[in-house]
């Protein structure tokens, strides 16, 4: 098993944290091998932000460190969807935050749209956990990681005072998968 995942959006949307939680959940709390790279612009808000994660059963399978043909993608903003759609393969499962993504090109993807930011803002009290709602949606649909592994990773990575809210957001996202 080898899966390429790309997560992209604007700085401030928690893209890198989302990628990091997946990496920790896969490497530390599951039996997978992982390679993760990050890129971001100098601005703390509004610039480009991207995480690329490759998850595999063995270290040998990892190979090239960057995503070439993503099996799974999360786009939290429209501009980055346009910019990085070339890295997403046909048939990929693509998650997008419909709060900001209004148009999706016809690429032969399995599209999963939900208003992550709106859900976070209205139901959880802050748009800052939109990334965890998206993560829940991703995990619920792809079953790439177990709920337990992700929750442990959230506890491991996220600042203590934010853990509960992040876990709540993650579980809210899981719920989107059954819709």
């Amino acid at each position: 098993m080898r899966r390429e995942i790309i997560i992209a959006g604007r700085g401030g949307q928690g893209i890198l944290l989302l990628g990091h939680v997946i990496g920790v959940a896969a490497a530390k709390f599951s039996n997978y091998y992982v390679t993760g790279t990050e890129s971001y612009s100098a601005e703390t808000r509004g610039g480009d932000s991207k995480a690329e994660i490759i998850v595999a059963d063995s270290a040998e399978e990892l190979g090239y460190m960057k995503v070439r043909e993503a099996d799974v993608a999360v786009f939290m903003y429209g501009d980055q969807l346009v910019k990085y759609s070339r890295l997403v393969k046909q048939g990929a499962v693509v998650f997008a935050d419909s709060t900001f993504v209004t148009e999706v090109p016809e690429e032969g993807w399995v599209l999963k749209l939900a208003p992550y930011t709106k859900i976070a803002e209205t139901e959880l009290g802050t748009p800052r956990v939109a990334n965890m709602v998206a993560l829940g949606h991703l995990v619920g649909v792809t079953k790439l990681l177990s709920t337990e592994a992700v929750e442990k990773a959230i506890e491991h990575v996220v600042k203590k005072s934010w853990v509960e809210l992040n876990k709540k957001a993650f579980r809210r996202g899981l719920g989107l998968a059954s819709n």
Partner: protein
């Protein structure tokens, strides 16, 4: 033993601590600073000292001093910082000071693109200092290997009393991967040999059979000499051709004769391979992916990947490439190690595939370049 999701930089810091690092001195520089930052947090908890100095020159000199005080010592820098360290590195070579330098390559010349990657410094790392010497250089291709080779770098450095370099690059430095971090009790950790003779009989530069002199440090009760002028076995300045030749040959030979302790490589699909790829560090990751693709297409390609760049593994390379029709040397520069490979494989067609990429040459780009030779 524990599994963590960390960058190669952090894996190096962990590997150093597992090896018994007791002193780290450094000056912040992209893309290496997080080694200093991480160790500043972690090493004091394990009884070690971390000091940020005014520059790279002071840092490596402090590391030399710490090593002579008996501590396992390390510094970490990137390309421009190494340029500043090479003078003191030469001092460490002639005084046979065990120490480890972490060298994370970044795109130069000069300040170039400070945050981005390259493999431009594979010769500078080896030949940057003045004098005639051998310098072991280990070159990881993953975060796990960064941990493993850091442990090895300390062992080599301590065993042979020679500065040893871990050569990484900006791409690897900030790539997160699963790393199995072993405890010291799960690792083979080697420390410098101490003198076994009484102090009055001790000669600080009299080698053992392995050509390495046992090392007395300050405070051990022996007469300690740290002499940067050409010296005899007693450590006394001796400006004669005879002593110079003996010293130079020993400094070189102690590494060459013990090169089996340093040299290591991995091969992938090389048996019956028509095309052998030579690649190292982050670029080898791309080549590995490409070789797998070529195999799927029915092209008999294989990868030879040195884990030690210096001393150069002539024997291993010759053996692996003996049946190959063509050898491609793929690297993130204009073709540097190519010269070394071509010299060793004189009877082969060796093709330089030098690709400049601020991250790492992609498998697609490499394939584009080599396709006309397949």
């Amino acid at each position: 033993m524990r599994a963590e999701y960390v960058t190669s930089n952090i894996a190096i810091a962990e590997g150093a601590m597992a090896s018994g690092l007791k002193f780290f001195a450094g000056y912040p520089i992209t893309p290496t600073s997080d080694i200093l930052e991480y160790l500043a947090e972690e090493l004091p908890k394990r009884g070690g000292v971390v000091i940020q100095l005014e520059d790279e020159i002071a840092s490596i000199n402090a590391v030399i001093g710490a090593s002579w005080a008996g501590a396992k010592a390390m510094t970490a820098t990137s390309s421009p910082g190494y340029s500043l360290m090479v003078e003191a590195l030469s001092f460490a070579i002639i005084t046979e000071t065990p120490l480890v330098v972490v060298y994370v390559m970044r795109a130069g010349p000069s300040t170039g693109v400070p945050t981005r990657s390259c493999q431009y410094d594979v010769f500078q790392v080896r030949y940057g200092s003045h004098g005639n010497y051998e310098l072991p250089v280990l070159v990881p291709w993953s975060a796990q290997e960064a941990f493993d080779l850091t442990v090895k770098a300390f062992n080599v450095s301590e065993m042979l009393r020679v500065p040893t370099v871990i050569l990484s690059d900006a791409m690897l430095a900030h790539t997160w991967e699963k790393v199995i971090i072993r405890n010291p009790s799960e690792l083979k950790i080697i420390s410098r040999r101490k003198p076994e003779v009484p102090p009055q009989e001790y000669m600080p530069f009299k080698p053992g059979e392995d050509l390495v002199p046992p090392m007395a440090c300050f405070g051990d009760g022996y007469k300690v000499m740290v002499e940067s002028l050409t010296h005899d076995e007693r450590g006394y300045y001796s400006p004669t051709t005879e002593v110079q030749e003996r010293m130079i040959r020993r400094l070189v030979e102690k590494v060459r004769r013990n090169s089996r302790l340093i040299i290591d490589y991995e091969t992938y699909f090389t048996s019956s391979a028509e095309y052998i790829f030579f690649a190292y560090g982050s670029t080898a990751r791309s080549v590995y992916a490409l070789v797998k693709e070529l195999r799927r297409e029915g092209i008999r390609a294989g990868l030879y990947r040195p884990k030690a760049l210096w001393p150069f593994d002539e024997g291993g390379l010759k053996k692996i490439a003996s049946e190959a029709k063509r050898v491609f040397v793929v690297e993130n520069n204009v073709g540097l190690m190519y010269k070394e490979v071509a010299q060793v494989l004189r009877d082969k067609e060796v093709i330089s595939v030098g690709i400049i990429d601020l991250d790492v040459p992609s498998p697609d780009r490499i394939k584009e370049v080599i396709s006309e030779w397949l």
